[in-house]
Amino acid sequence: MSTPIIELKGVSKRFSKKLDFAGKILQRLGAPVRDETVHAVDGVDLTVNKGEVVGLVGESGCGKSTLGRMVAGIMPASDGTIRWHGKELAELTGSEGRRAKLQTQMIFQDPMSSLNPRIRVADIIGEAPLVHGLTKRSEYDGYVDEQMRRAGMDPTLKRRYPHQFSGGQRQRIGIARALAVQPEFIVCDESVAALDVSIQAQILNLFMDLRRDLNLTYLFISHDLGVVEHLSDRVVIMYLGRVVEEAPSEEIFARPNHPYTQALLSEVPRIDARKKSFAGVKGEIPSPLNPPPGCHFHPRCPFAFDRCKVERPMLKTVASGHRSACHLNDKVA
């Protein structure tokens, strides 16, 4: 087997909020205040092979974007190693470091805050390819037009600024910008969430065409299970900073093993549902500021038993290529 494009081992990310000056004094005086740490990502192993589409799914705030940023090399990990083509990403320097950065592109969740409001769309898309010699001054206009067209945008709008576009148009600017540098690996963070289904279909079909023609690789972060199922070869499920299940797409949708995955799959809204009563989340939503001990899912898990409250379940193989982190799998065995 060839070296994976990206390989994460025991990767964690913590965000700490240090006490401010007043807080420190209060603490000295014996007040119960302390530094707060968010365990956004907690000991994650993840491998993505060339040409693969890996779907990353999980609740809002569980650490998907943080993991995606570390994979794309724009945020350092607090712990663990990230290897890009077998080499440690944090240690790449010079031209190799630049190549890694260029070859891995991220399409951001929040298009407005990732697009410079003072730069015209043409330059947002075309600047990097020009700097890196992917196009020439003389071919610049044609290159930009082509990138816009590909992302389903009318090139005649290229002299506009980001705020003059609709939400979905902005999302497509982000897509065009990422594709314009001809990367080999793309981290898509909720990249089609703001698009109506028809344009969504157009973009997803484009992603699939690029994969077929250029052997592109994707880490596809999405909360839309329909989209993930359609697109991914493999699906990784996260819960509160940890990977809880991982399996080939068909397998996970047919035979979800982890109770969280099962809960997730049962709640997919469907277009054939009519005016219905939505139910709130059962059980308290846990906080990454203060994650529950043992299995993070135990306060909401209908199958939780004593062991779940004290011992963290590790990912174990339950079928070929299918791993799950749940103590129930030991029980039956």
């Binding site: 809002s60 939400g167 909720e190 289904v197 989209v227 359609h230 005016k275 989340v281 308290e284 939503i285």
Partner: protein, 334 residues
């Protein structure tokens, strides 16, 4: 007479037109939009990206900026035309009786202020309560939208939240005053199904308990299916189909609505190309005369080059199309 007043909708938009006068030409972002929403009702406003949904919402809230202007139609809120109110009157209404949840949560949130500062200010701007009461209210509302540890989280800055959490804070701020009308612009797009269900549950409760009328802008037809009473479909600045949710989704009459429903991923086969509506979104600056969907429509004929009227083609079904897709015709095409 009283019965009539009770039945009067909270909001009635009539033939709204909002255009942007840019140097490159006039962008007719909204060009003939009509709908109404009653007390405690939810209208799902759907349509193609760029079709004018957000600009419609901005027009209602009086937030359209230069070079944009409302150039036609009326926006009746309890019978009072919002298009004719002064800046100051609109400011009074906003955040108090009418609220908007923006597509981009950073339009609501100030990046340099802590969440608690922003929420407490919002509460105190419109109601006379102590700071402690305001904090309590902020905290409860955050809990309602599923933010765990609201006490600690209140002290954070927006960039310390995940994308979905920012979206939920923006929703919480809109809910703070229990307004009579909420325009929610793609509020749950980045949220997973569990949190989405939680928020939709709160929204339903709010509408039922306080009679809040809601315009829910989204491209997610499954949310509209589960939440809304009525649906209005927009294409290139115009409402092209309108009616109750069930009949519209079960039997769409406009070819664009039918195409939209046909592209939903769960209806397609895994790994196969998704169905997409052929052709590209039209540039609203260069619309062909007649039906704007003409160049992409499988049912187009000569007559479609003429201005298409919007009207009732069956009881309760309003469509802007010369050849609505009654079932007999859908069978023919298949």
């Amino acid at each position: 007479m009283t019965a009539l007043t009770a039945a009067a909708p909270t909001l009635e938009v009539r033939n709204l037109q909002t255009h942007f006068f840019t140097r490159a030409g006039v962008v007719k972002a909204v060009d003939d939009v009509s709908f109404s929403v009653g007390r405690g009702k939810v209208l799902g406003l759907v349509g193609e990206s760029g079709s004018g949904k957000t600009v419609t919402g901005f027009s209602i809230l009086g937030l359209v900026d230069e070079p944009g202007r409302i150039v036609g139609g009326s926006i009746l809120f309890h019978g009072q035309d919002l298009a004719k109110q002064s800046e100051e009157q609109m400011r009074q209404l906003r955040g108090n009786r009418i609220a908007m949840i923006f597509q981009d949560p950073m339009m609501t949130l100030n990046p340099v202020l802590r969440i608690d500062t922003q929420m407490i200010e919002t509460v105190q701007a419109h109601t006379k309560v102590s700071k402690e009461e305001a904090r309590q209210r902020a905290r409860d509302t955050l809990g309602m939208v599923g933010i765990p540890s609201p006490d600690e989280r209140l002290k954070s800055y927006p960039h310390q939240f995940s994308g979905g959490m920012r979206q939920r804070v923006a929703i919480a701020i809109a809910l703070l005053h229990r307004p009579e009308l909420i325009v929610a612009d793609e509020p749950t797009t980045a949220l997973d199904v569990t949190i989405q269900a939680q928020i939709l549950a709160e929204v339903q409760k709010l509408c039922a308990e306080t009679g809040t009328a809601m315009i829910w802008i989204t491209h997610d037809l499954s949310v509209v299916a589960g939440l809304a009473d009525d649906i209005a479909v927009m294409y290139a600045g115009k409402v092209v189909e309108k009616g109750e949710v069930a009949p519209v989704l079960d039997m769409p009459l406009h070819p664009y609505t039918a195409g939209l429903i046909g592209s939903v991923p769960s209806r397609n086969k895994r790994g196969e190309p998704l169905k997409q509506i052929p052709g590209m979104t039209p540039n609203v600056m260069r619309l062909p005369p007649g039906c704007a969907f003409r160049t992409r429509c499988a049912y187009a004929t000569e007559v479609c080059k003429q201005e298409v009227p919007f009207g009732e083609v069956a009881p309760g079904r309003e469509v802007r199309c010369f050849h609505p897709l009654f079932p007999a015709k859908q069978g023919e095409a298949a």
